[in-house]
């Protein structure tokens, strides 16, 4: 794809098992700077786990994960926290702090990590909220927000400290068409306007492809296909075609493995 320096994240030979279940069996993956990279695959393939590995919340069994040249697996707690200040993450449910209102949620990272005075914090919070279109909702509590609004607030919070990259965990899951459209637009625009690098984990094919520059398809612990988004539609892989087209049968069978049908029916 590109040379090493142009990649913000480099994952090499990553192996990770959850108990006896192997989730990643030697994954290689590069995320180029300044681009939107989508990581796609069926539910349960460990896409969210991949984000956790990149953020250093869990450690891999083997392999290297480099973020901006730093090996995440070798960092101590202090180093990890310093790195995380430069990473924004949008959780699936938003993960807003339920006892704080919208304004305070966005101000949270600023209050925790900076000594800015209140008027500066206010200005920053309002700028971030304006950029996601929710300046008017600043006094609402998280329980008063719709799912889409909660994600937009979480997005404003994720970019509060002007991170170098933002990771999105299933940003489109369970959204109505309007919220979905808003999120798709926001992710792309924020990425370009703020010079971010974005990683989207998703199984919503149309939305992810609409904004992604690069796409990685993961299945059964391996990268099935990776490359520029526009090349994916012409993939020779049957699995990729089944996933993209949402076909019920193909390399991923419709039937869960079972005994012979006739034999089981006739059994007494």
């Amino acid at each position: 794809m590109t040379s090493t320096d142009d990649n913000l994240i480099e994952i090499r030979e990553l192996r990770f098992a959850h108990g006896p279940r192997v989730i990643f069996d030697g994954i290689d993956l590069s995320v180029p700077r300044g681009k939107v990279t989508a990581i796609m695959g069926p539910s349960g393939t460990g896409k969210t786990t991949l984000l956790r590995l990149i953020g250093g919340q869990i450690a891999p069994d083997a392999g290297a994960i480099k973020v901006d040249g730093l090996d995440v697996t070798g960092l101590d707690n202090k180093g990890l926290y310093a790195l995380r200040r430069r990473i924004g993450m949008l959780f699936q449910g938003g993960a807003l702090l339920t006892d704080l209102n919208v304004y305070e949620n966005v101000a949270f990272p600023l209050r925790e990590h900076t000594d800015l005075n209140e008027s500066l914090i206010r200005a920053l919070v309002l700028i971030k909220l304006q950029s996601v279109g929710l300046r008017g909702a600043q006094m609402l509590m998280p329980s008063e927000l719709s799912g889409g609004m909660a994600r937009r607030v979480a997005l404003a919070r994720a970019i509060a400290l002007d991170p170098m990259m933002v990771m999105y965990d299933e940003p489109f899951a369970g959204q109505d068409p309007i919220s979905m459209g808003v999120l798709v637009k926001l992710i792309r625009e924020l990425n370009d306007a703020l010079g971010l690098t974005s990683i989207i984990v998703s199984h919503d094919v149309a939305e992810a492809l609409a904004i992604a520059d690069y796409v990685y398809m993961i299945s059964n612990g391996r990268v099935v296909q990776g490359g520029p988004a526009n090349e994916l539609a012409d993939s020779s892989s049957e699995w990729v075609r089944q996933f993209m087209g949402g076909l019920s049968d193909g390399p991923v069978p419709f039937h869960y493995p079972a005994r012979d049908y006739a034999e089981e029916l006739l059994e007494r």
Partner: protein, 260 residues
């Protein structure tokens, strides 16, 4: 048979692992308490939520326990013409035993369960993970203030419980049943020892406070991040707190008053 043995092994290993996690969690929490010196506001907010909001149940229960003690104590003492010692009976029962123990049981039910549920829910809704990803240590920011607040609130609530209980005993004994008011207070003053009785009771409530704070915050933090997991953590907090409080009470009583 082998299945049963295998299960026994698994259960034993799991409990040992849990014990280890519990100790590790305590160390992390205690080391996080130092940073709260610069942010007392976090502890004050939690004191309001675990302490002040437990006041109603503590005051009402204390009043009724004191009134029952007054009634029962009077009925027994009056047979021996010793009803003027009612104040001593009520005060000693409350200060030595019922104050710390019943307040701890109520505190575990009211504040301990709320703490476990709140922390468990924060985990289930990825708020703790979210904090960690924002480079904010959830143990320092969420757990430590709650732990400290519970630890501070418990002895204070036990003191309130005992004080209100003594008044409840006074209402029943003196106002309703006609025990001499002067005798009620003066016998109490004469027989209740500051060190032997009051301080020992306070020590008990401090120990119970520590145990409940630890159990509740750990159960919430260690909960499975699902609705069922949070429900289980809440139940476990109340059940374990009750058992631990009663067990510790026996040990402490034996050490303090048992001449062992």
């Amino acid at each position: 048979m082998t299945g049963a043995i295998q299960q026994l092994g698994i259960d034993t290993l799991n409990s040992l692992a849990r014990l280890g996690r519990r100790a590790q969690f305590l160390l992390q929490t205690l080391s996080g308490i130092g940073s709260l010196l610069w942010r007392p506001g976090l502890v004050v907010a939690q004191l309001e939520s675990v302490g002040v909001r437990s006041l109603v149940i503590i005051v009402v229960s204390g009043l009724f326990v004191g009134m029952v003690l007054g009634l029962q104590g009077y009925n027994t003492l009056v047979d021996f013409g010793a009803e003027e010692s009612l104040g001593v009976v009520v005060a000693l029962s409350l200060v030595r035993e019922l104050g710390p123990v019943v307040a701890a049981l109520l505190f575990a039910g009211r504040a301990g369960s709320a703490l476990a549920a709140e922390i468990g829910l924060m985990k289930a809704t990825e708020q703790l993970d979210g904090m960690a990803m924002m480079a904010v240590d959830p143990v320092k920011r969420v757990i430590a203030p709650r732990f400290l607040a519970a630890f501070i609130a418990m002895p204070l609530l036990a003191a309130v419980f005992s004080a209100v209980g003594v008044l409840g005993g006074y209402v029943v004994g003196v106002e309703w049943l006609g025990v001499d008011g002067g005798a009620y207070w003066s016998q109490m003053q004469g027989k209740v020892d500051l060190y032997e009785d009051v301080y020992n009771g306070v020590i008990k409530s401090i120990v119970f406070g520590f145990a409940i704070a630890w159990l509740a915050t750990f159960e919430g933090y260690d909960a499975q991040p699902t609705a069922e997991g949070v429900a289980k953590a809440t139940t476990r907090t109340v059940v374990q707190s009750a058992l631990v409080v009663l067990m510790l009470d026996f040990i402490l009583t034996a050490l303090m008053f048992g001449e062992i």
